[in-house]
Amino acid sequence: MTEKIEFAPLTKKDFVSDQAVRWCPGCGDYAILAQTQKNMPTFGRKKEDFVFVSGIGCSSRFPYYMNTYGFHSIHGRALPIASGVKLANPDLSVWVVTGDGDALSIGGNHFLHTLRRNMDLNILLFNNRIYGLTKGQYSPTSEVGKITKASPFGSLDYPLNPPAVALGSQATFVARTIDRWQSHLASMMERAYHHSGGSFIEVYQNCLIFNDNAFESYTGADKLENVIELKHGEPMVFAKGTKGIKLDGFTPKVVSMDEFSLDDLLVHDETNLDLANIISNWTSHPILPEPIGVIYAINKPTYNEQVDKQIETTIDNIGPGDLEKLLNSGDTWVVE
């Protein structure tokens, strides 16, 4: 339900709750919160129709700060809780805020299944590659060899690649953005809002206390050298148009635009699953720029739509349920 309804337009302030924000000063979460509060009014929807659901983690405190309906739940379970909200009332715009630990460690199974069902939720995963709230253990997205309190000799687990997990789970919308790329972040949220089905956005988020500068190369002075913005139907250029990506078989190569023209470059097609898989494997690549933007987006009926449709069809076919009749169905007999 993305149609606009007539009511007094809202502003950012309408989405700011009365609760004091309690992240560490300088935490990347602040930027995402501010952007979200700014974005929501642009959707032209009543604020009582928004629900923010989260699990547990620093990131998961998010709902307290949004002046909408909100649910700060338990570790890892935001997605099935949000699914229940959406199924109960499909007219709501349901947003899930979760962390790399919350969504991918303890909550990994729900991530998998919520996406495969194409449940119409907007999922913002704040990936800081660390457990913030529990004071800095490595997370499933931490790089190998990470020294933390729980891995004083370096962690051994290979990291998960969230877009790859999402694609392997049959997600219909997979995107990535960065806390400090504010307008990009805004555009990804907007795309997610308008996508009908499960929208997954990975947001690189800096935890300055336990994993500072994890994304420095994507937000620092050199950022344009190290990041590529994916745009549907457009050739893959980056570094202010000086570099591009070319495919050699399935293997991407960085090429200089001095030597190649736009026509030589790989063109992004966000509806191509095979390409999306290839792109998602560029994550943290030693040579390739980090892809941000919509990696994959296709249309497929949502789970919640289908649930409603099945109910409607049944009622069309056999009429609305009659409880008295149901109670009295089967073999009955009368005792006088």
Binding site: E48, S83, A88, N328, V335
Partner: protein, 614 residues
């Protein structure tokens, strides 16, 4: 040979055979016929954990017991008087429970050398005389009989032989003087698309009946008259279906939609199955990826205004326990149903047990009290579910409903309730800021129930946030203040305590004082009732109380308990309710605890009671 007819008060028969022999179906038909005839009935299906263990194996034996009577009965009977054994394994497994002098009807054709060995018989018990002294044995060549009956139908032998169970059923219909029509009608509907199968089964049924009628060997028929049940329209119902209906009825009455989120698990899955067939009622079922997602989805749905329900069994409750804590602290209405089975761990998944009571009471981190209600009979599952739903919605709390494998699959005649007569259901839904409030206080309570307002997303002006962190009394905001936490801890307990006002005065079966009170809960209630009645008949000063609400306990219970010299608590566990009762009332109650995966036996409970009666 002339046949005589004896009139009996009741009979207990058991069908036993291989998993492939259709014993559950046979039992079901006999039950429905007994119901239509007007008997009171109680049934006990008993099937193996394997879907279909190797044919002829002991592990593959499936059984169905029914007690039917012209009087009110409360259990499927301790031990059968008639055992139908479709193969040697069935005989081996079930013979020990047949009463002395009981009747055995076997399919002689199944007693091959191979099957006998498989079942662990060294010689053929039909031939070695081992049964003859103690039992009346009817050895019938059922394979041959059904082959005869279906002659000319041009059906494969395999199909024909599958009608053996109907043949056996026919014999019993003759023995107990039952009509064949209900079964014939059922066959016609069931096999509407395969009329030749319906026909073969009908032939087998009639052949069995006629065999009883004409064969020289059967001499006596039994008549069991109509029971005098309260007037009304009846149907036969099992516990799981009754539970599902109770949920639906409560939602309709509260004008809410049902949301069911869960994950299949024996013996609770049939609740999911029933729910998923009710699309025309707008029931939404969500078969989640696991139990945690199941309950999590219900918490979300409850937040968004559905009447949310989940059902599972013990291992599933374990997984749901963290989320239950969330439901408690967020004070959302929710119904969680535990169809208990044998534990610990996977335990005996298809057997009944009452061993999850203390899990329901205490199986969560922190002080996390919630109301607990237990159903007493299959049909009572409807009312218990309805009541649980009513309390959940009125008090804004998750409520536990405990049933068990026996109640879930067992069945009894059920007087169909009239919807108007069911109590009204209040909710705490609000659609605007209460008068005089400036900002919405999501934990401002109703004084009577301590229920908090149920403000669901999409209602303007009531936007608020809830969650698992401790909340400020009143506002519901996150609050770490020490005194507030203490206060909220007490309030959450108080809220559960307040449910006591919903509990009807305790019904005492028998005198209000005496030598012994048998105090039961849940599925043990039938046995306790039967035992009590018999003890009373024998002149003992015994009464019976069955607890419906276990948390909180009824306010009149304390005084009742004091009027008896001794309190005996029968449970299919190692002693759980007894711990609660002893701690609460400091009385030296004693337990009768037999954990065999089956309903307790009234006869043994009586023995135990007599120990205390001196």
């Amino acid at each position: 040979m002339p046949k005589t007819t004896k009139t009996l008060d009741l009979a207990v028969i058991r069908f036993a055979g291989d998993s492939g022999d259709g014993m559950q179906l046979t039992g079901g038909r006999f039950t429905d016929t007994a119901a239509v005839v007007g008997n009171d009935i109680s049934t006990l299906p008993d099937y193996p954990a394997e879907i279909r263990a190797p044919a002829g194996s002991l592990a593959g034996v499936s059984a169905f017991q029914i007690q039917f009577s012209s009087k009110e009965i409360h259990t499927p009977g301790d031990t059968p008087g008639v055992l139908v054994a479709m193969n040697p394994a069935a005989l081996k497994v079930h013979l020990p429970e047949l009463i002395r002098g009981g009747t055995i009807i076997v399919n002689a054709d199944a007693f091959s050398k191979k099957n006998l060995t498989f079942a662990g018989f060294e010689t053929n018990p039909l031939e070695d005389g081992s049964l003859d002294d103690e039992y009346i044995v009817y050895s019938v060549e059922m394979n041959k009989m059904v082959t005869h009956a279906c002659k000319g139908m041009d059906l494969p032998a395999k199909i024909v032989l599958r009608t053996r169970n109907l043949f056996a059923l026919g014999i019993l219909y003759w023995m107990y003087d039952r009509p064949l029509e209900p079964t014939e009608n059922w066959l016609e509907t069931k096999f509407a698309k395969k009329p030749e199968i319906a026909e073969a089964n009908k032939r087998a049924l009639n052949a069995g009946y006629n065999y009883g009628n004409t064969a020289e060997i059967f001499t006596t028929r039994y008549k069991i008259e109509k029971a005098t049940l309260p007037s009304g329209t009846y149907r036969n119902i099992n516990g799981n279906y009754a539970t599902a209906l109770g949920v639906l009825a409560a939602a309709e009455k509260a004008n809410l939609k049902v949301f069911y989120g869960g994950y299949p698990i024996t013996p609770a899955s049939d609740i999911l199955h029933a729910m998923s067939s009710w699309k025309q009622f707008g029931v939404k079922t969500f078969q989640a990826e696991d139990e945690i997602a199941g309950i999590a989805s219900t918490i979300g749905a409850a937040f968004a205004g559905n009447f949310a329900v989940t059902a599972t069994s013990g291992p599933g409750v374990a997984l749901k326990s963290e989320a239950l804590g969330l439901a408690i602290i967020t004070e959302l209405p929710l119904l969680i149903i535990n169809v208990q089975r044998g534990g610990p761990s996977t335990g005996l998944p298809t057997k009944t047990e009452q061993s999850d009571l203390l899990q329901a009471m205490y199986g969560r981190n922190g002080e996390a009290p919630m109301p607990i209600i237990a159903a007493a009979t299959p049909g009572d599952c409807f009312f218990a579910a309805y009541e649980a739903a009513r309390v959940a919605l009125k008090y804004m709390t998750p409520v536990f409903l405990l049933t068990d494998g026996y109640l879930a699959n067992g069945s009894e005649p059920w007087k169909i309730p009239s919807l108007d007569k069911l109590p009204d259901i209040e909710t705490n839904l609000i659609d605007a800021l209460p008068d005089g409030e400036e900002s919405f206080l999501s934990y401002q309570r109703d004084a009577e129930t301590f229920g908090r307002p149920w403000a669901i997303p999409s209602v303007a002006g009531l936007e608020h946030r809830i969650g698992g962190l401790e909340k400020k009394d009143g506002s519901g905001n996150v609050c770490y203040e020490p005194d507030n936490h203490h206060q909220m801890t007490v309030i959450r307990q108080e809220k559960v305590n307040k449910v006591v006002q919903e509990i009807a005065p305790t019904r005492i079966i028998g005198e209000t004082s005496g030598d012994l009170l048998i105090l039961s809960w849940g599925g043990a209630s039938g046995t306790a009732r039967s035992a009590t009645e018999q003890l009373q008949e024998e002149g003992f000063a015994v009464s019976h109380v069955n607890l419906r609400w276990i948390n909180p306990l009824p306010s009149d219970l304390k005084d009742i308990l004091k009027q008896f010299k001794k309190v005996l608590i029968p449970e299919i566990n190692n002693g759980q309710l007894i711990k609660i009762i002893r701690a609460e009332y400091l009385i030296d109650a004693v337990g009768y605890n037999v954990v065999r995966g089956k309903p307790l036996r009234a006869s043994l409970l009586i023995e135990k009671a007599k120990e205390w009666l001196g």
